[in-house]
Amino acid sequence: MIATLAFYVFAVILLVSASMVVSARNPVHSVLFLILTFFNAAALFLLAGAEFLAMILVIVYVGAVAVLFLFVVMMLDVNFAQLREGFQRYLPVGATIGVVLLVELFMVLGGWKFAPEAASLRFAPVTPGVHNTAQLGRLLYTDYFLLFQASGLVLLVAMIGAIVLTLRDKGDGRRQDISRQLARTAADTLVMVDVATGAGMKDVGILRPKVAEPEPVAAAHDHGHGGHH
């Protein structure tokens, strides 16, 4: 009884917040509703006994993906009046595409028949006595090992692609070279100067740090005006 009640509560909140994602006026609110949707989906997974999937859903989608969504959406400067301008003009095209997709979905699902053996398995995928974490692991790493590795490769390619597209390294940025910095000693950078009382720093001038290795061209020419180099 309680499980049924919990199911309906989570399902209703999920559907309501999912519709709020597309109808909220503020995009930040949209993302927050999306997070609520994820949470309720995780709760539904839990009710179905898929605890591993529920936790992974929260970790991956809420803990990482939605953070980046929120990050991006907060930085956006969206002008809603401008966004709504073309609504009337594009409505017929959009509605047509929507209707076509809906009809196609119905055509596909209408002709879908479950094999009689699968029907009994469909709603009870839980084998008693084995944790579903172990079951998933066995399935992924034993039975579908190659497919799993292939999907990992696809993700790797996508990641490299994203880095190549966004990396603009002109080589003139200031970088900290940790090994070079650790190799420096006090003798490389410090110089002790005796300054006579009342004479001030006039004779000594401005001290510049010694440069051990050849510097990049841009930095090399302005070391002249100090006393010591």
């Binding site: 930040v28 591993f52 929260v58 803990g63 929120l70 907060m74 974490t133």
Partner: protein
């Protein structure tokens, strides 16, 4: 009585009592952690720390709490009121609900679930929302800068934390926190996995936004970062949430690497103390290191922080994970899940 505890209402009452038994000492612990921090910092900087309110200043946390309650909650113009007030509550709640799965003794967790470590990881990865929502809802530049910094920082360090947890998990063969501690009966994981232990501790510093990784609040550059606009109770909730998170992360370090409630070596004089006491002693020891680090190290620069996370910890933890898995497989020590 035992029959009543089997009914749904009985289970509810039992859980509430358990939650209170855990949360009340925890909140007192949080209050005295703020006191301990000021005392420890004081001692390390040759000062006295709070010593006016009560004997040795022991009532200072309560004086601070009363002060916070009396002040006015100021909501800045243009702030998103609902989210502005929700953010501190979220931070505080998340720091509390994670404790549901922490075992303080053999089987003493409110919820002894199969995926306990994943639950902890999930909750700790949500901590960033309190900060990022606070930064956005405040309608202030500094708060927003702090929120952006913390979002990038926490997401970065979670990656290596995840790898470190996986390394522990392949040594245990279970995601249950109770099993993780029981697997350390022969040797605590901080010995064979010593580099991971250090990396995990440093990652928890970054995850809780503690110095030297406290860039999201960086008071010398962005005033107080994400909570610059907060005052009174809403500020207090952030403050308490931060300290509760510190205790949570120390508990996680204790469970994963320091053998939880187990006595050292499992031999005579040490086993006289009960398990929960050992758990508390270990958590306090880790917390002391948190404070010690704060008194010792200057704040990292942002690029140094990112370099450490992505170029040192990520390859390091990945390498050690492969190494540990390789050794386990080669020696035939791989534990088998039930």
């Amino acid at each position: 009585m035992t029959e009543f505890l089997q009914t749904p209402l009985g289970i509810l009452v039992l859980t509430l009592v358990q939650a209170l038994l855990l949360l009340v000492p925890l909140l007192i612990g949080v209050a005295y952690l703020t006191y301990a921090e000021r005392k420890v910092l004081g001692a390390m900087q040759l000062r006295r720390g709070p010593n006016v309110v009560g004997p040795f200043g022991l009532f200072q946390p309560f004086a601070d709490a009363i002060k916070m309650l009396m002040k006015e909650t100021v909501i800045p113009t243009g702030a998103n009121r609902l989210l502005f007030l929700m953010a501190p509550m979220l931070t505080f709640t998340l720091a509390m609900i994670a404790w549901a799965v922490i075992p303080v003794n053999d089987g003493w967790a409110i919820a002894d679930i199969n995926v306990g470590i994943l639950y902890l990881f999930a909750i700790s990865s949500l901590g960033v929302y309190g900060i990022i929502i606070a930064g956005w809802a405040s309608n202030s530049k500094y708060a927003f800068l702090g929120a952006l910094r913390s979002a990038a920082q926490m997401v970065s360090y979670e990656v290596s934390m995840g790898f470190i947890m996986v390394t522990v998990l392949i040594c245990v063969g279970s995601l249950n926190l109770n099993d993780i501690v029981n697997a350390q009966k022969t040797v605590w994981f901080c010995i064979p996995l010593f580099p991971m232990f250090i990396m995990f501790f440093i990652s928890t510093l970054a995850e809780t936004n503690r110095s030297p990784f406290d860039l999201p609040e960086g008071e010398s550059e962005i005033v107080a970062g994400f909570f610059v606009e907060y005052s009174a109770m809403s500020f207090a909730l952030f403050f308490l949430g931060e300290y509760a998170n510190m205790i949570l992360m120390s508990a996680m370090t204790t469970i994963l690497f320091l053998g939880g409630w187990l006595a050292p070596f499992g031999i005579e004089p040490f086993t006289w103390l009960p398990g929960p006491l050992w758990f508390i002693i270990k958590v306090v020891a880790v917390l002391f290191v948190f404070l010690w680090v704060r008194a010792t190290f200057p704040r990292y620069r942002y690029d140094q922080l990112m370099r450490l996370g992505w170029k040192v910890f990520l390859p390091g933890s990945l390498l050690y994970l492969v190494l540990v898995a390789g050794v386990l497989v080669a020696m035939g020590w791989l534990p088998h899940a039930a």
